[in-house]
């Protein structure tokens, strides 16, 4: 009886040990994988500051407004640097959309605007919003610029050809062919809920995007 009892205890103990070891290894493994998200910005070249073109002080706004809050957002299809395309209507019924129009690649204010959105993605996620960046640069130029910035975590769309057609439809094309610095917030029904053109020489604060998304 004693021998049987000892064998049973030993077997039961080993089974229990196995279960606990598997549990602990699983938790440790999961915890390791679930640990803080990696910094989205990869190692950047040290040349961003010296590589940007400094255009000097520009006319703050150089366009005539065409759209206002409550208007239907003009649909568009534009190429993305990853080779695909994005159509605005693909988000209808699914996601809100925030469009960040910026003037040009390799310019100082733009180069310090889009990287900030990289660390704000939780905000967009919180409000089920897709962030799209648009410039009138061609795809190769955008590609090189994005690499210099260390990458961006949202889609950059090229409004190069027909040149500035989308920017023009939104009333944010300047007379020299670059976009205004503008933010547009579009709800899931495709209606504009916020549209503002900023002084091209200054970076817009994140506050406007936060408030516009909160109001959706």
């Amino acid at each position: 009886m004693r021998l049987e009892k000892n064998s049973f205890s030993k077997h039961s103990f080993l089974n229990t040990m196995k279960k606990y070891i598997i549990s602990i290894v699983s938790v440790v493994g999961f915890g390791f994988m679930a640990s803080c998200a990696p910094n989205p910005v990869s190692e950047v070249t040290p040349d961003l500051r010296t590589s940007v073109y400094r255009p000097g002080k520009l006319k703050p706004i150089d366009s005539v407004a065409k759209l206002k809050v409550g208007d239907k957002a003009p649909n568009f299809t534009l190429p993305v640097v990853d080779g695909k395309t994005v159509t605005l209507s693909q988000y209808r019924g699914k996601k809100n959309v925030v469009i960040s129009f910026v003037p040009a690649a390799f310019t100082p204010v733009c180069s310090k605007q889009w990287p900030g959105y990289n660390i704000s993605l939780d905000l967009f996620k919180q409000y089920n919003a897709e962030l799209l960046g648009i410039t009138t640069d061609n795809v190769p130029s955008q590609h090189a610029w994005i690499k210099l910035m260390g990458g961006i975590q949202f889609k950059a769309l090229s409004d190069f050809w027909p040149h500035g057609k989308v920017a023009s439809s939104y009333g944010v094309l300047r007379s020299n062919g670059v976009c205004e610095r503008a933010i547009v917030v579009i709800d899931k029904k495709g209606v504009i809920r916020f549209i503002k053109v900023y002084d091209i020489n200054k970076r817009p604060a994140l506050d406007d995007i936060v408030n516009a998304l909160k109001a959706l």
């Binding site: 605007q113 660390i119 939780d122 970076r203």
Partner: protein, 184 residues
Amino acid sequence: MKKIPTLFSALFLLALAFLISSCADSSKPTAPVPSSAIPGLDYRNSKAEVVVLNFFDMYCIHCQRDAKHVNDIYDRIQSGPNRTKVAFYGIGWGNSPVEVEMYRKRYNVKYPLISDDNKAISKRFGKVRTPLIVVLKKEGGHLKESFRISKIKNKKDEFCLKVGGFCVPVTKAALDEAGKKLIQ
């Protein structure tokens, strides 16, 4: 024998509690109130002997890359015996309180952050190009700039040496190496 499974249960729960706490959701604030919103928060009112100011810009890629290293410096100071003599602040260069809060959440910053929307604070320090750490030391009752360092990533030991040993751990080898660099 019956105690061993109980012991493992306890160890398992401890490990789980440790993992949950160490991998805490970084979007939850570690301070009850965003520091940029604390009225009257001004580094000049600090009673500390040493004041460390981390000038950052939420949009600056170099600042984003440096953030974890600045956190490391802060932790090293907090781990030291002289932590009560050092005050650490982040100054959001050209950043609104909303933007400062975004930086704080993203990088789980534990030290107080101040919004310097109109760059009034930064202007007191001449040319400020972020990321930049400026160290002030109290002399004759007033805070005076002792030194400044930009891009702290490979300069942490040098920083700790210059700040007067308020950081730990600093190995003797690291101190000697940092000392050699200073002499060169």
